[in-house]
Each structure stands twice: as C-alpha cells, then as structure tokens.
Symmetry: C2
Subunit: 330 residues, 2 copies
C-alpha cells in the first residue's frame, strides 16, 4: 500500500477538493514524521503538476529541550528539498498564562495564527497540515468521551477555509513506512509519550486495547464513522442555519426566537437552531450540549430561565429571549 | 444518587414513553445484577401504580456450569417477590451450529423469541430488559470501532416495539449499590470476565483506560452522544423513507431507482435511500456501509456494476436497477 501513497494522497486531494493545479500551498512543518512525510508527498505531487509547493513554515514553540534541535532539523530539510522555509519563535507559556489557556490550546492558536500570516507573506492560498487517520480516531474518541455531542463525532475536517489536511485518511504507520523507504529521518516529540495527556493516553493505551478487542486496528472504522457524521451534520447544520435566519429577530433586550416556530421544527433542527442562537449571543465562548439542553428546557417550559455564557434565557410573550447580560455578570 | 434510583427510572420511563399505568410488563431475568435490580425497581414502581408487573421470564441457556444455579436463583427470587416466573431451557449450541451463528447471536435470538412467546402467554404488552448505560457505551464503542456507520452510533434504543429498557440511562454501579442497600444478592456471570470476548475487553480494558485519560467515567458522555445520534438518525431515516417511497419502483428485473432523482438528494439522504433499497432487495441479510458505498459508486458512474447481498446493481437507461440474482449465486 505504501508504494502507492502519493497516488492515494492525490486521490484524497481531488476527492475532498483540497487543491487544484493552481493552488499555492504552504506546509506546516513540525519536524515530526507526519509533517515531514507531508512535505515529501506534496513535493512529489508538485513535481507532477498537481499543485505548487511555495513554502514551509516552522513555529518553534520553545516548550521543550529539543525545540532548537527540531528547528535546526526543519531548516536543513527545507534546504535539502529546495523549498523556502519561514521560522518563528512563539511565547506559548506567555499566551497560556495571559488568556488562561492550556499549553496545548495556546500552542494551537499561535500556530494557526503564524501559518495564516506566513501564507499571506509568501502568497499561499492553501495551508497543508499533517493530521492523519490516527489523529482523526483519537479526536473522535476524545470528543465522544467528553460528550462533545452535536459536532464532536464529525472529528477533524479535511478542509476548513485555507487549511487542508491531505493525510487525514492515511494511517500514521504508512507515513513512517514511506519515509523509511525514502531513507528519510524525522524528529520524535518525546512529549507524545506523556500519559498524563489525554490524547496520548488514547493513542498509546485506548486505541491499542480497542484493536485487541476487535482483532484489528479501530482507526479506519472510526475515521469512516466521522466522515459520515460530518456528512449528516453538515446538511443538518445547513437546514438549521436557514431556519435560524428565518426565525431569529434582534429585539430590544437581545436575540429573540418565536417559540412556536422553533417548537415546530424536528428535534435535530431545534437543537441546532438553539446552538446557533447561543453562539451568536456569546461570540468566541464555548457553547456545549448542556447549554443547548438548558435552552430546550426553557423553550419547552420545564425551566423558567437559564443562565448560559453571555446571556440569560427567558420565555417572554411567546418568545425565547437571550437577554444580554453585562459583561461583569457573565 | 442511588437513593433516588426508583424516581430516576420512573422519570426515564415517562420521558421515553416506555410504559403507562396500564402497561402489563414482563421482565427478562438472567439473575445478574442488572435484571435483578430491574425486577426490584419495577416492583417498586408497580406498587406506586406506574405500571403492572405481570411476570418474570428466565431462559436457561445451558451453556455454563452455573446455568442450573442461575435458574434456581431466579425461581427463588420470583417466589420471594411474589411474581410468577416462566423458565425454559434453550439449545443455543444447536441453533448456532445449524445457522452458523456465534453463540452470542444464537443466544440473543432464542432469548428474544422466548420473551415474545412468554409475553403472549401471560398477556404482557411490554418486555422490560436490563440494559444499562454501560451496555450502551460498550455497544457504541464496539460499533464505532467496527465501522457500523449510519446506524451504529445510535446504540441501543430505549424502546423497540414491545421491548423497553428502563435502565439504559443508569450506570451499572448504581444498580449494584441499590441492590446492596436492599441487602439483595445476584449471580455473577463468570463468562463476563473472558477477555477474548470483544465486549468484555471493551468493558474491562478500554472504558477504564478512557476514564483514566479523561479523569472521569466516559460512559455518560458516550451514552449522551448516542442519544443525539439517535435523534438525528431517526429524522434523517424518516425523510429518506419518504423519498424512497416516492422514487422506488418495482421493474421487470427488480427494484429500480431513477438515478437523477436519487442524485438530486443531499448525500445523507442519498445514502439512506440506497440503504433502504439494498435492505428491501435482501430481506434479513446484513447490509453494511461497504454495500452502500458500492451502490453509490454505480449510481455516480465510477463503477459499472456491483454485487451486493441478494442482488447485482447496474445503471440501466438512467435507472439504478437492483437485479435479483438466483439464490444459488448470492
């Protein structure tokens, strides 16, 4: 299978409409096996005219002792493959402290911001990142077990705006085999072995146990389930979006939804209309299933009011109103 | 929480419309903690007039050395709680051999057949079985990891026709605590410890590891995700059912679907229309995602034909035709 890996990746790129021959692609390169393999794969596809590879970008998170080694590895790799690289150093700890984020969340935010800036600078219209089928399975299990609900099972999307993930259907093992066949090296991120991190525990303990239970790797099946959940979810989201636009009004106290109209919708659409309303009333805040359940309870009359991020919900004169609270009370 | 367990179960019964005060309920009793707790809980609710408990039913699978002990335990329990019990012995090994089923599948088929017969005999209109929130999480993980796809994530339904599952939202540990508080015993099924069985491995290894990863039990979140998948799936199935009825025709060679009409549907509905067609063409056969994918490929013209259970798919004169094969070729 690994001998045909460039072909499989090319197929995935066309299937998910990630790139065209006109696309100018920047690759996010950490130095790990996934992004190193992505670099070689896209270079090979660029050679066949499937896309243009215009740059590599490495963000030095400066979190680990090996950060300087990783940066050096990426610079040398860029040199050898003949693709320009942009390197920056990020203050992950600083951002995490300032915004009360986990190091993981802070690093992610800085990384995607960095990639967006570099892509503007080098004139790229696609940012390719190295998420694999294993990342997909880990994400789905993590979200499923945390009760992410409506959108969790959909997992990682192959494409979000400029960001594309050509390896999302490729098992990690195939990428390592591909690099080994090319006699290419990569750097290992030793923090991936830390079992206090939930994702690592899922990677090193849960998924292998699942594979044992089933007599075969669980990753492909989970990734496929995620793809179907994404298909179903996208369509339901689109329907709910249309209905939300038709039902929602901006009233004097905040967003208003005519309760009869929302109640007339089937439950999957009703939930999603409420989710959109809650998100609109609290931009940038995390809205969870619990909040949607609270809103449903007010709508159905089993609760008189509910406090959710950014607003207080009440049923007033036949309308579900999202009363905007002063920021201090949120 | 366990002190309010009867209240919680009563709430679930009303929420999922499992029983009314007029319902005549038969309980499937294995002698394990789940079904013993179910018996005591339903007896308590019957005492409050929430339903009528008309009988217990125990099928002796005759598979384990402890089968006679379990049967004796159930008879004694029935005697003590004053509810009539029906006991039968089943030939699980015989059915499994005759129909090439796993022992698990054969036992399930015999058990539900037995419960249906007994409920007719005793005049019950509900059959209550003891599936718990843990069973739900195990089932979802099992199906997710096997790629069951469209309907797998929905897990176990709280109600299917006469069969109701009042404990589907209750963790197994709460039931054991409830029985311990009542000073009631149960029998342990030692085969539940066999880690060669996929479900047992998920129960004893995968779910505890997931809990460790998350710092808390994963079961409730997974059960909630299943509930949402069920909501979404039921609605999508209903839409697809209507469209299928409008599009499908019986032609001279088999079921026919006008390809343009199917292609005009969004992907989630398109997949479900094909699933219904495949199921109709092969009653009682297992139709999987692979078969739906094959049908999609023929419909979209990327494959010329596909062999699926019970039929061969071809695109003929703008119609997807499910050519019925002679039984010998299937």
């Amino acid at each position: 299978m690994t001998s045909s890996l460039p072909w499989r990746v090319h197929h995935a790129i066309r299937q998910h409409e990630l790139c065209t021959p006109e696309s100018r692609v920047l690759v996010g390169l950490s130095g790990g096996a996934d992004s190193v393999a992505l670099t070689f794969l896209l270079r090979e596809l660029a050679g066949r005219g499937a896309l243009a590879l215009v740059g590599l970008a490495h963000l030095n998170h400066d979190l680990r002792q090996t950060a300087a080694r990783d940066e050096e590895f990426c610079r040398a790799l860029a040199d050898r493959v003949g693709v320009p690289i942009t390197v920056e150093r990020a203050d992950v700890r600083g951002l995490a402290a300032r915004e009360s984020l986990s190091l993981e969340d802070a690093a992610r935010r800085l990384r995607y911001g960095f990639l967006a800036r570099v892509s503007d600078t080098v004139g790229a219209d696609r940012i390719a990142v190295g998420h694999t089928e294993d990342d997909q399975a880990e994400t789905v299990l993590l979200r499923l077990s945390r009760g992410a609900g409506l959108t969790g099972l959909a997992g990682i999307h192959p494409r979000r705006d400029r960001v594309v993930r050509p390896l999302i259907g490729v098992p990690r093992a195939d990428l390592r085999k591909y690099l080994a066949d090319l006699d290419e090296a990569w750097v290992e991120d030793e923090t991936n072995l830390d079992l206090d991190n939930p994702r690592n525990r899922i990677r090193h303990r849960v998924l292998p146990e699942l594979g044992q239970a089933l007599g075969g790797a669980a990753g492909p099946a989970i990734a496929r389930a995620a793809r179907l959940a994404r298909e179903d979810g996208s369509w339901l989201d689109a329907i709910a979006g249309d209905r939300f636009m038709a039902i929602a009004r901006t009233g004097p106290d905040g967003l208003e939804l005519a309760s009869q109209e929302v109640m007339a919708e089937p439950l999957p659409i009703r939930r999603r209309i409420l989710l959109q309303a809650l998100r609109m009333a609290a931009p940038g805040r995390e809205i969870g299933l619990d909040h949607v359940d609270s809103a449903l309870a007010v709508l159905e009359g089993t609760a008189r009011a509910a406090d959710v991020p950014g607003s207080r919900l009440e049923l007033l004169a036949g309308k579900l109103v999202l009363l905007t609270k002063p920021p201090s009370a949120s």
